[in-house]
């Protein structure tokens, strides 16, 4: 059994995602403590192009280069399994992203390695690896020990610094031949978010609404506040799922990643999937009647007042300042 650590590179349109660098950084740290090499597996048509950006790995393994950019899950599984078995690898890091979701559990079923979902951290504790998993929307953490340091970990985006996994070194490139597997789930095309709406990724001020906004009729109120403040309205998943705002306004794991100067979160609890999309904000202000809402753990300022009353008050307070300064 080798002590090598396998990282599945995740990339879209030829660019590795941050989570790939985060995993490489984590793997580097673990390899330093446990010995062994860091191996990155890059799949699909852009694997070779991506490989040169994965210098934090000792070895980059290219496979399924004739597959589309997003290879079928059957192909990704075959590549991971072949790689694990041919190299005797027993520690695997996967991105906890939508694209890879499902691969970890299936790989675990095939390789009999244990699987840990929602992983926020991994460390050596008394000689064995201890993974920390964020459950129930980040409200509960659980420590899980990996017997013999074996396991497949789904690493939540933003759990480790991406810079630790960036390197300009040239990794050794290997090619891996795969058994032929019928690709049942076939990738057709990538669909970009519809244009024409406000680009929330470019706004300095976002007034972001969650479940606490209660119903569609209250969205225009938030919109008025945003306009007065010189910003735009964004939202968390439940609001977009209800059809109250378009997908282009969604912040989070499946939505946009935003980095405004001010992120004013109204009635948003702050689940990990939401945090992923707004962690780049310079200042976070949270209004939520639940004093235990996770968002208060990473907001700079907070208040537990009713968010609808707050919208009216805030609009008046900002208008007052504007009229007195002009």
């Amino acid at each position: 059994m080798s002590a090598d650590i396998l990282v599945l590179s995740e990339h879209i349109q030829g660019k590795p995602l941050d989570v790939t660098f985060e995993m490489l950084g984590l793997a580097r740290k673990l390899a330093g403590e446990l010995g062994g090499r860091v191996c990155a597996l890059a799949l699909g048509a852009q694997a070779a192009q991506v490989a040169s950006q994965l210098g934090a790995a000792n070895v980059v393994i290219l496979a399924a280069e004739d597959a589309p950019e997003q290879p079928a899950p059957e192909v990704a599984l075959a590549a991971l399994q072949t790689c694990i078995e041919s190299k005797g690898i027993s520690l695997v890091l996967l991105g906890g992203t939508n694209a890879v979701l499902g691969i970890g559990a299936r790989l675990a079923a095939r390789t009999r390695l244990p699987f840990v979902n929602f992983c926020k951290g991994i460390r050596l504790d008394n000689g064995t690896l201890l993974a920390t998993s964020a459950l129930l929307g980040g409200k509960i953490m659980s420590d899980v020990r990996l017997p013999d340091n074996k396991g497949i970990l789904s690493i939540a985006s933003g759990s480790a610094p991406a810079d630790a996994g960036r390197s300009t070194k040239a990794p050794v490139i290997e090619k891996l031949a795969l058994p032929s597997v019928p690709a049942k789930v076939v990738f057709r095309r990538l669909i970009e978010p519809a244009g024409g709406d406000v680009d929330i990724t470019k706004m300095d001020i976002l007034v972001s609404v969650g479940r606490g906004i209660q119903n569609a009729d209250n969205i225009p109120l938030a919109d008025e506040l945003a306009k007065v403040m010189g910003g735009a309205v964004s939202a968390s998943r439940p609001v977009v799922d209800q059809g109250w705002l378009p997908l282009t306004r969604q912040v989070g794991k499946s939505g946009m990643s935003v980095s405004p100067k001010l992120y004013l979160a109204l009635g948003i609890s702050g689940a990990p999937e939401h945090w992923e999309g707004m962690k780049g904000a310079q200042m976070v202000v949270a209004i939520n009647t639940d004093p235990k809402a996770p968002i208060f753990n990473f907001a700079h300022y907070g208040a537990t007042v009713d968010c609808l009353e707050f919208i009216e008050s805030m609009k008046a307070a900002v208008e007052k300042r504007k009229s007195s300064s002009s």
């Binding site: 499902g102 970890g104 300022y301 009713d306 805030m314």
Partner: protein, 258 residues
């Protein structure tokens, strides 16, 4: 067409979560259970497809607190058959849950040519991975997760689905039936059903109870549960909404944000 919607009950995180004395599990005494959000979307998507292409919607769940209400609500919304597998879901990990559901699906010969198995994309308590993924291995069926739109071709042999990536990107995938689709969100918000209709379902409909052998729990044991150590906490602004707004406007003006 057969639509097999699989439900999983999860702790309601709106309620305060307490740990049990051994710090390895949640204290179930005060725990309230609710249907996983994604599962509600799975049912909605199945009902929409049934309206479009005909067929039968079957909803199945393992036994769990509040599950009867959830199954009757599914009937009231338009599900044809609801099934309760007589195993305590709260004692099983996701893999074991998938094994129990697979055992029932295989024994009842439920997967034919025109079948979609539709669990929710992922529940927030799935330490051991998603139900749909484990099920794919158990049933040897194609699987795609985080699906937000499903279209069937005219003879219901293929599904064209949208899978969510990051940054608002969607991938379009084609999947031959039978298949498992992990539903993240339905194309329309889940329908509302009046309480009177649910009460009616409770009087007129029946939950089918089925038994399967209890699968072994093989996942990793939780060594310690804890509430997240809070690295920082927001500076709280006290007072009425007017006072809070006034203070905040002052802070933002001072920093040149407004």
């Amino acid at each position: 067409m057969n639509y097999l919607v699989l439900f999983k009950m999860i702790p309601d995180t709106v309620e305060e979560l307490e740990l049990s004395d051994d710090q390895k599990s949640l204290n179930t005494e005060y725990l309230r259970y609710k249907l996983s959000d994604a599962d509600e979307h799975a049912l909605e998507q199945a009902l929409i497809l049934k309206e479009r292409h005909g067929g039968q919607v079957t909803v199945a769940a393992l036994d769990a607190p509040e599950v009867d209400d959830v199954l009757f609500t599914a009937i009231a919304k338009g599900a044809d058959v609801v099934v309760k597998i007589a195993l305590d879901q709260t004692k099983l990990d996701t893999r074991a849950t998938a094994q129990a559901m697979a055992a029932w699906i295989k024994a009842s010969n439920l997967v034919g040519g025109q079948t979609l198995v539709m669990p929710g994309a992922q529940a927030i308590d799935d330490l051991g991975g998603e139900l749909g993924a484990w099920l794919a291995e158990e049933l040897q069926l194609p699987f795609i997760g985080v699906v937000s739109s499903v279209k069937l071709d005219d003879n219901c042999s293929k599904a064209l689905v949208l899978k969510e990536f990051s940054s608002g990107l969607r991938g379009e995938f084609e999947v031959p039936l039978p298949a498992i689709l992990g539903i993240q969100s339905a194309e329309k918000p889940p329908r509302y059903v009046p309480v009177a209709k649910v009460r009616m379902a409770m009087k007129t409909a029946k939950i089918q109870s089925v038994e399967v052998a209890a699968p072994p729990v093989t996942g990793l044991a939780i060594e310690r549960m804890f509430k997240p150590e809070v690295a920082g906490h927001a500076e709280m602004l006290e007072g009425t909404p007017d006072e809070v707004a006034e203070k905040l406007a002052g802070i933002l003006a001072e920093r040149g944000i407004i």
